[in-house]
């Protein structure tokens, strides 16, 4: 571990992981519920977490630009290195696009997003049911892409730790050392 991840990078990674594991299943669960106070609450929590992820993604991007990630093990085949980098870039893209599509969808469907019920986000698009439905489909498709990415990401991390026995997982999860 010559150039380890900074503790800020590690904290941001796990914080966002926890938020994603909360808001992703919440999104699947809530959307089919009949209208109730519970549903309004869950939708709001989902949006609040989404906005938080969006802001953390901005912070993380800025941090990443100044603090390069440690290199992958030399033993990794070229295709695996490319796949790993590709998925990491995809994550950065999705962590912006998914909350953004949700925020715009909400505006298009006529419901403003108010972070924690206190801070209103501007409606960047006006009410437009057709656009709202399109954004809903985009939000869903992007999330499916994220789910596939996360499955590959987690499987690869476990494989590095258990099969390759290198430090790829441990450098992001220091207590494994």
């Amino acid at each position: 571990m010559k150039t380890p991840y900074t503790s800020t990078a590690i904290a941001l990674h796990w914080l966002m992981a926890v938020l994603l594991f909360m808001t992703f299943p919440l999104g699947i669960y809530m959307h089919d519920l009949p209208l109730s106070p519970e549903k309004l609450k869950l939708y709001s929590y989902h949006k609040w977490i989404g906005v938080t992820i969006f802001l953390l993604a901005c912070l993380r991007m800025l941090w990443r630009l100044r603090h390069p990630t440690p290199p992958l093990p030399r033993s990794m085949p070229d295709w695996q290195q490319k796949l790993a980098k590709g998925i990491h870039h995809l994550f950065y893209l999705l962590l912006f696009l998914i909350p953004l599509s949700g925020w715009l969808m909400s505006s298009a469907l006529g419901v403003q997003t108010v972070w924690f019920g206190l801070i209103p986000l501007p409606d960047l698009v006006g009410e437009d049911a057709a656009l709202g439905e399109w954004l809903k489909a985009a939000h869903k498709a992007l999330n499916i892409l994220l789910l596939i990415g996360v499955i590959v990401h987690v499987a690869a991390a476990v494989k590095h730790h258990v099969v390759d026995r290198d430090d790829v997982l441990a450098r992001m999860l220091p207590f494994l050392k």
Partner: protein, 190 residues
């Protein structure tokens, strides 16, 4: 000078003959497409709005004779429209407007009062979902072409009228406060 004096005199005479002062200032012909009743509320801190598509208005308003003015407004709560279909359907149910049992909400004036500065106040009784409450509504008229436009807004507590009962009575989710805004356009009584 002489040439246009006579037509002017004729014009003045005919107009005074055609319009007595009382008629000139009384407005009672409702113009539906230039009128609205809207409501604003908050759910989970999100400012939200809706309107009633169907309502009937009987109105006689004379700015010079507030005591002779009166109104009866009836609103079809089933016509509430918020832009979110699920919400519109929910509002018809028993917990909200219970539109099967209470197909009309109504406001009936008891007294009009001039407040000065072109402002008026309408005292009356508001009935929603079978519950009646006294209500005083401020109103600011303005002229628009030949018509008079009456605008104003007033706050309501939805729970006082039993609107949103059961689990919906949780005001942390849907606020108790509802702001009603109205615009009623009236043409002169013909």
């Amino acid at each position: 000078m002489h040439r246009w004096h006579r037509p002017l005199a004729v014009l003045l005479l005919t107009s005074t003959a055609a319009l007595t002062p009382a008629q000139a200032a009384e407005y009672s012909r409702f113009v539906a497409d230039r009128s609205h009743i809207q409501f604003a509320y908050r759910q989970m801190g999100v400012p939200s709005e809706g309107r009633f598509r169907k309502f009937s208005v009987q109105f006689v308003f004379d700015p010079g004779k507030p005591a002779a003015s009166r109104t009866l407004i009836e609103v079809d709560p089933a016509s509430a429209e918020t832009g979110v279909k699920d919400v519109d359907e929910e509002l018809k149910k028993d917990a909200w407007f219970d539109v099967r049992r209470y197909p009309l909400a109504r406001f009936e004036s008891s007294q009009f009062r001039a407040l000065g500065g072109g402002r008026f106040e309408i005292a009356g009784r508001l009935t929603i979902k079978g519950r009646t409450r006294d209500l005083t509504v401020p109103m600011q008229p303005r002229m628009d072409g030949g018509a008079i436009v009456l605008e104003g807004s007033f706050p309501l507590k939805r729970l006082e009228f039993g609107v949103g009962t059961g689990s919906w009575s949780d005001t942390a989710t849907v606020a108790d406060d509802v702001q009603v805004r109205f615009r009623i356009t009236l043409n002169p009584t013909s």
